[in-house]
């Protein structure tokens, strides 16, 4: 594999810093996502340890606030988002029969800005205190009056930078799916994972700019003394809630749709049946995305919007249950009468269905505005969103990782360990969060750092903490599985599950850097399955063998992200009183910001001035690599 095609090749660390190959960027996303997921997981365990018994003083109230804020922020923005992008990068170009994404350079830029944003946010732990106003950063709690450390500044600036990376990724995948599909792959022949990722990318495009503005306004209030949310000077704190949730509700569907896509791939593969109701699946996905933008105020029923607004948003919210229900039934009907194999990816997928339904049911309960006055800000809400996010999304991601692992790494994960981790995960999960419904109904508020004994909370909290530990063990087993597998030799078949239906299973595992020696011709939904059923050995090529053009690796995206990182830090500390005169010179005069921006814009300029002509892989080299062992 590793022979040089051209002088442009880098090795080792430099290879990873400069790569524009979507398959390597997928691995980078997975590593970064795994890292942040681990940090967020440790925070979760600390939260649960604090709550294991009444009047506990394991951590202080301030630390507890920082822990819950960083847990939520890290998991949503830095944990699950990159794992979603890892799967999208690893799978979509293969599923649509493309050699790469539309913009390999931007792909790498998106990753590095995301990573540096995440690092900036987490630096807060060692630079004077983490954000402490909740992952929703409601004003006025998050203004300088009540949140006096730099914590929330790390939140605004870090998320801003990470969000930029996500937005770039979203645009890139939209363009990729629109223009790079193989001949014959019409929109209505696209695999469901590609469809849901497409819709998720569109939602990213229209939702992320809103939070960008929200974060700018909050950071201007905090750093430049603006008055957007300062009531005393005419500002309006409810404005923040609107902006946050206009982004925030679409964001939860941004997260869940790719998981829906994974489930829609895994279930048919292991039922050996075509997905039931493909077109209704597509339609439901689009409808969910559309409705997802009209329901944000269900997070604000108790804010005082008035009965008319509450009623409208209630009804709109309940409507979402309809397309969601369509999906659930489609999965059930796909399994109905199929020859089901209970492999580890399929276990996670099957576990997903009832768990997600439970989250959906509590969602519809919350959607009833009068009832929500009781549920709001209690553990009932915590139970709801963990059912949809952990039991739903994280199960879906674990299913997808087990499923595509052989394609990404050329090695099968160990099935026994996979099943073991599934059982720990799902039992631990339900133990942790099922009881929280009742804690909420009994009146335990969310985000409290401790509680008095003898209110009926004690046992249920203990159970919840034990569940969290079991779930943690499940994740650790997965990690061990990944490490053990990495030591095994490569060499799984193209189609290791044997019942692969889509194009990614038609090429070697892992694929060569150009993916397809010849772009395939697609003749129906489940392109590879169709050829298998017709008795063909593989895909029919749509083009003659020829040299393949590849984009050059480049360090510029990395450097650009470093520039943004420096500028972000400079902006955060621009009004800081330093005891050191050199520090005040460079920070208070915006010198650091200017240096950072110069690095970024300078790199952009270089990119614009020097055209990348790329390089070619010649036909004889293709033949060498194309021969399968």
């Amino acid at each position: 594999m590793a022979h040089a095609h051209s002088v442009k090749r880098h090795k080792g660390l430099m290879d990873w810093l400069t790569t524009v190959d979507h398959k390597k960027i997928a691995i980078l996303y997975l590593l970064a996502g795994g890292l942040f997921f681990g940090i967020g997981g440790i925070e979760a365990v600390l939260i649960r340890l604090q709550l294991i018994k009444p009047m506990n003083d394991f951590v202080s109230a301030q630390t507890f606030n920082e822990l819950i804020t960083m847990h939520g922020t890290t998991m949503i923005f830095l944990g699950v988002m990159p794992v979603i992008f890892a799967l999208m990068n690893a799978v979509i170009p293969l599923q649509i029969g493309a050699r790469d994404v539309a913009f390999p350079f931007l792909n790498s830029l998106g990753f590095w800005t995301f990573l540096f944003g995440g690092i900036l946010l987490n630096l807060s732990w060692i630079m004077g205190g983490a954000p402490d106003a909740g992952w929703t950063a409601y004003t006025p709690l998050s203004t300088t009056t009540y949140s006096t450390t730099h914590g929330v500044d790390f939140y605004t600036v870090g998320l801003q930078i990470a969000g930029l990376g996500t937005l770039i990724g979203g645009i890139n995948f939209l363009a990729t799916i629109i223009t790079m599909r193989a001949p014959g792959m019409s929109f209505m022949r696209m695999p469901m994972f590609t469809w849901t990722s497409f819709i998720t990318s569109a939602m990213i495009l229209f939702a992320f700019p809103a939070i960008t503005v929200g974060l700018v306004l909050l950071s201007f209030d905090r750093i430049l003394g603006a008055n957007f949310f300062e009531v005393a000077n005419g500002g309006n704190p409810v404005l923040w809630q609107h902006i946050f949730w206009i982004f925030g509700h679409p964001e939860v569907y941004i997260l869940i749709l790719p998981a829906f896509g994974v489930i829609s791939e895994v279930i048919p593969t292991f039922a050996r049946k075509r997905l039931f109701g493909y077109s209704s699946m597509v339609f439901a996905t689009i409808l969910i995305a559309f409705l997802g933008f009209m329901v944000w105020a269900h997070h604000m029923f108790t804010t005082g919007l008035g009965p008319v607004a509450n009623a409208l948003f209630s009804i709109a919210t309940m409507l979402i249950a309809v397309p969601t229900g369509i999906k659930i039934f489609n999965w059930l009907f796909t399994m109905w009468g199929g020859q089901i194999r209970f492999t580890s990816p399929n276990l996670f997928a099957i576990g997903f269905i009832p768990t997600f339904v439970m989250g959906g049911v509590t969602g519809v309960m919350l959607a009833s505005a009068p009832a929500d006055f009781q549920f709001h800000d209690t553990y009932f809400v915590v139970a709801h969103f963990h059912y949809v996010i952990v039991g739903g999304l994280v199960s879906g991601l674990l299913s997808g990782l087990h499923y595509w692992w052989p394609k990404m790494f050329g090695r099968m994960l160990n099935e026994s360990l996979g099943k073991l981790s599934f059982w720990f995960f799902i039992i631990g999960f339900h133990l942790t969060f099922f009881v929280q419904h009742f804690l909420g109904l009994m009146g335990m508020q969310r985000r409290v750092f401790t509680y008095l004994p003898n209110q009926g909370f004690d046992t249920l909290n203990m159970v919840s903490t034990i569940g969290a530990i079991l779930m943690g063990i499940g994740i650790l087993i997965f990690l061990i599985n990944a490490i053990v597998t990495a030591t095994k030799p490569k060499g799984v078949a193209d189609d290791p599950w044997e019942d692969g239906r889509t194009l990614e299973w038609a090429i070697p595992s892992p694929p060569p850097e150009y993916n397809f020696k010849q772009i395939p011709l697609v003749r129906g939904i489940d392109a590879l399955w169709k050829e298998k059923m017709a008795g063909n050995k593989g895909m029919t090529p749509a083009e003659p063998l020829g040299p393949i053009h590849m984009p050059s690796p480049t360090i510029l995206p990395f450097v650009m992200s470093v520039g943004i990182f420096i500028a972000g830090l400079g902006f955060m500390f621009s009004k800081e009183q330093f005891s050191n005169s050199f520090m005040s010179l460079i920070f208070n005069n915006w010198i650091v910001v200017i240096i950072g921006l110069l690095i970024t814009f300078g790199s952009m300029l270089l990119r614009s001035l020097y055209d990348d002509h790329g390089w070619h892989i010649e036909v004889d080299e293709l033949d060498e690599e194309g021969v399968k062992a």
Partner: protein, 208 residues
């Protein structure tokens, strides 16, 4: 001005060189998408401004501050610059590199003129009217919305200037053409945003 580049590429270039390659088409498509995101960005800023525009905190109000003649002049300048960027793209489609460069330069100059007026306006508000970022919720919303737009104009001016340089060095090719086309899209977009700012911020401010 050297015309050698234009002559060498003229025969080979198609009528719409920006869409000649897959890279070019991808660029144009995703720039449309990007502008969709930008529309949400400005939409949110406009919504914020509308929510806060009467919260003057006993500071200057819109009616007291705004001088319509000057803003009207700025509007005119920006609208004309949109027209000149249309001429630039038309020149590009006729493969007239020299004319293309001239129209882009005029666009840049008009953009600079607009920025000059805006900077003067802001400076006057701060100096003469004691109207700064921290004065009121209205002032914060005003400076953020109009300033975001101004920053976009400034970026556009830099961007198009770099492109003019590239047109000298590389001429009009299937690589440079999409860049010119996309920058013209960007320029129209910030022009449209300005039309909304003129209406929602300035006209409404004078009337309401």
């Amino acid at each position: 001005m050297s015309t050698t580049h234009a002559e060498t590429v003229d025969g080979a270039l198609p009528h719409e060189p920006e869409k000649a390659t897959l890279e070019g088409r991808n660029k144009v498509l995703s720039f449309w998408l990007f502008l969709g995101g930008e529309a949400v960005l400005f939409g949110t800023l406009f919504a914020t401004f509308l929510a806060l525009r009467n919260q003057t905190n006993e500071g200057p109000t819109a009616g007291e501050l705004f001088q319509l003649p000057m803003t009207a002049a700025a509007t005119l300048i920006l609208l004309v610059s949109s027209l000149t960027s249309v001429f630039a793209v038309q020149a590009m489609h006729r493969h007239k590199v020299a004319a293309l460069r001239v129209w882009l330069m005029i666009t840049v100059l008009l953009g600079l003129g607009f920025l000059g007026l805006e900077i003067y306006e802001f400076a006057e508000y701060v100096r003469a009217e004691k109207f700064g970022m921290t004065t009121s919720a209205f002032s914060s919303a005003f400076y953020t919305l109009v300033g975001f737009h101004g920053a976009h104009v400034a970026f556009g001016v830099l961007w198009i200037s770099v492109l003019i340089g590239q047109l000298y060095k590389k001429g009009l090719t299937v690589v440079t053409a999409p860049k010119v086309y996309v920058s013209a899209m960007y320029w129209h977009f910030i022009d449209v945003v300005w039309v909304f700012i003129f209406t929602v911020v300035y006209l409404l401010g004078k009337v309401g």
